[in-house]
């Protein structure tokens, strides 16, 4: 397998409002190409991710860049869609099939949520599969955690407030507060599903993000004035059967999947959790970020609450998480979320993150799950 370099990344602003998918997708793709310093003619394969868009939207969007005959493949894996597109681009280069591949993802969940024609998710209490929404599933995870470990709603609010405050300094984030957000403010926002309030729930909207990956040889032709970002590991797993496994419902999956995928990623990368400088996770709700501290091996089982109390996972702390605001505040349009994590990590590892820069960031990890059924982890390094 060949070494793979992330030559460029880009994102269109994540917004609450519905966006013109074609426009923001091209914006993100052009930003990544410009960042890499290459033209579209150099791209030899494209992997296009989105959850809800008409048939063949991927190839249609790609025509906006140019008609060069390259293979264009649509990828869908729920929340993990963008990470899956990145992984396919990585695999194409690592496997020696191409030297330059583009991963591009976009979505507009605001359209989908607002319009019954697009299929409203959640069918209410008179349905068996539609009654358990993501908010409810993760809330039950939180309730059980509170029961077993004494975790408080204040800890969950502190994590959410941290992510809101990280997003204040991320130019493409969806939720950019004009003031420092407090845990009290998060707790006082309206209740969605106990203990999760609106400000603890991921921002749903529109967005697009892209990455260009290249072989090590090809990277020699590119600008050498900026740090080169390597993909140390790409790992993906699906669920393994566990006792009490839930099969019925839209958001399922054992937490063990994250620990298993992390173990594979660490082994492939030859690094451990103590080597990481920053981490992006699937923080659709703060309970997730809290549990992932432990499942990713950042701290021991049950010690996540102490990490939050010490501010270890805020920028300036020992191991910052969700440095662009995460799903909670940068936003979670679906498809592009995983690629936005890659974009943020690349910007941080290059030292180009401005006021939200993690000092001396050398190694970053991106974690995401898709519908609780797949987990994808990438480890990138300067």
């Amino acid at each position: 397998m060949r070494n793979v370099i992330v030559a460029g990344t880009g994102a269109a602003p994540f917004t609450k409002e519905a966006a013109d998918l074609q426009r923001i997708a091209v914006d993100a793709g052009l930003a990544a190409l410009t960042d890499a310093g290459i033209g579209f003619g150099e791209v030899q394969a494209a992997y296009v991710g989105y959850i809800r868009a008409p048939v063949m939207t991927g190839p249609r969007v790609m025509k906006e860049f140019g008609l060069t005959g390259i293979p264009v493949q649509h990828i869908e894996n729920a929340s993990a869609t963008g990470a899956a597109a990145f992984r396919e681009a990585w695999a194409a280069v690592a496997g020696g099939h191409v030297d330059v591949a583009m991963a591009l993802a976009f979505d507009s969940l605001s359209e989908r949520a607002g319009s019954p024609a697009n299929g409203r998710r959640g069918m209410g209490r008179n349905s068996l599969e539609g009654a358990i929404l993501p908010a409810a599933f993760f809330a039950m995870w939180a309730q059980r955690r509170m029961h077993d470990y004494g975790t408080t709603a204040d800890t969950l609010a502190t994590i959410a407030a941290k992510n809101w405050n990280h997003a204040r300094f991320c130019p493409w984030a969806q939720r950019r507060a004009d003031h420092a957000v407090t845990a009290k403010e998060v707790l006082d926002s309206f209740m969605v599903a106990e203990p999760h309030t609106a400000m603890m729930s991921c921002g749903v909207g529109s967005g697009a993000a892209a990455a260009i990956v290249v072989s090590e040889d090809y990277a020699k032709r590119l600008d050498h004035s900026r740090p080169q970002i390597k993909v140390l590991a790409s790992a993906m797993q699906s669920e393994r059967y566990t006792e009490g496994h839930v099969f019925l419902g839209p958001v399922i999956g054992p937490s063990r999947m994250t620990a298993d995928t992390a173990k594979e990623a660490y082994e492939k990368a030859g690094v451990g959790p103590s080597d990481l400088d920053l981490v992006q996770v699937h923080d659709a709700f703060p309970i997730e970020e809290l549990v992932y501290y432990e499942l990713l091996g950042i701290c021991g089982d049950g010690a996540g609450d102490d990490l939050v109390a010490r501010g270890d996972t805020a920028i300036g702390g020992r191991i910052p998480f969700s440095t662009d605001g995460g799903l909670i505040a940068r936003g979670h349009p679906g498809g592009p979320t995983g690629l936005a994590q890659i974009h943020e990590t690349v910007v941080q590892l290059r030292g180009e993150a401005g006021p939200r820069q993690v000092a001396d960031a050398t190694i970053g990890l991106c974690h995401i799950v898709g519908a609780g059924s797949v987990c994808i982890i990438h480890i990138l390094a300067r």
Partner: protein, 133 residues
């Protein structure tokens, strides 16, 4: 009036009691809900089995905003929970009761609720309710 299950593949109705339809592996005895063709552990064919309608509450929440991506809060909320059955099966379901009615570890029992009275039949769904003391 006869009851008709809202999803026949998930449960049937005996009199006025919903019965969850599961599968059990003949070899390793692992039990699953809903029904499946092969054992998830040893990949052998499974046999049909009825699941116990009683269990303990593993976790729960109250959903105030029932529709994904919407901020309307006047639609009416409901409780949802995960119930561990004696067959080591965890079922997710809407809960009977109001906020404050549930606690982790409490015994729960399955209940029938009519959701649609249409013509000859009453379309019914299963929920779980705290067991009467």
């Amino acid at each position: 009036m006869p009851y008709v299950p809202i999803e026949k593949r998930l449960f049937r109705i005996d009199g006025d009691t919903p019965v969850l339809l599961g599968s059990r592996c003949a070899r390793c005895r692992e039990t699953f809900f809903p029904r499946r063709r092969l054992c998830a552990v040893c990949f052998e064919p499974v046999e049909d089995v009825d699941l116990c309608g009683r269990g303990t509450l593993y976790s729960y929440t109250y959903v105030h905003v029932p529709f994904f991506g919407q901020t309307r809060i006047d639609a009416g909320g409901y409780g949802v929970g995960q119930i561990d059955l004696p067959e080591r099966v965890r079922v997710q379901a809407v809960l009977v009761g109001e906020p404050g009615a549930w606690r982790i570890g409490m015994p729960m029992t399955i209940a029938l609720e009519v959701v649609d009275e249409r013509g000859e039949d009453d379309v019914a769904i299963f929920r779980f309710a705290p067991e009467e003391a």
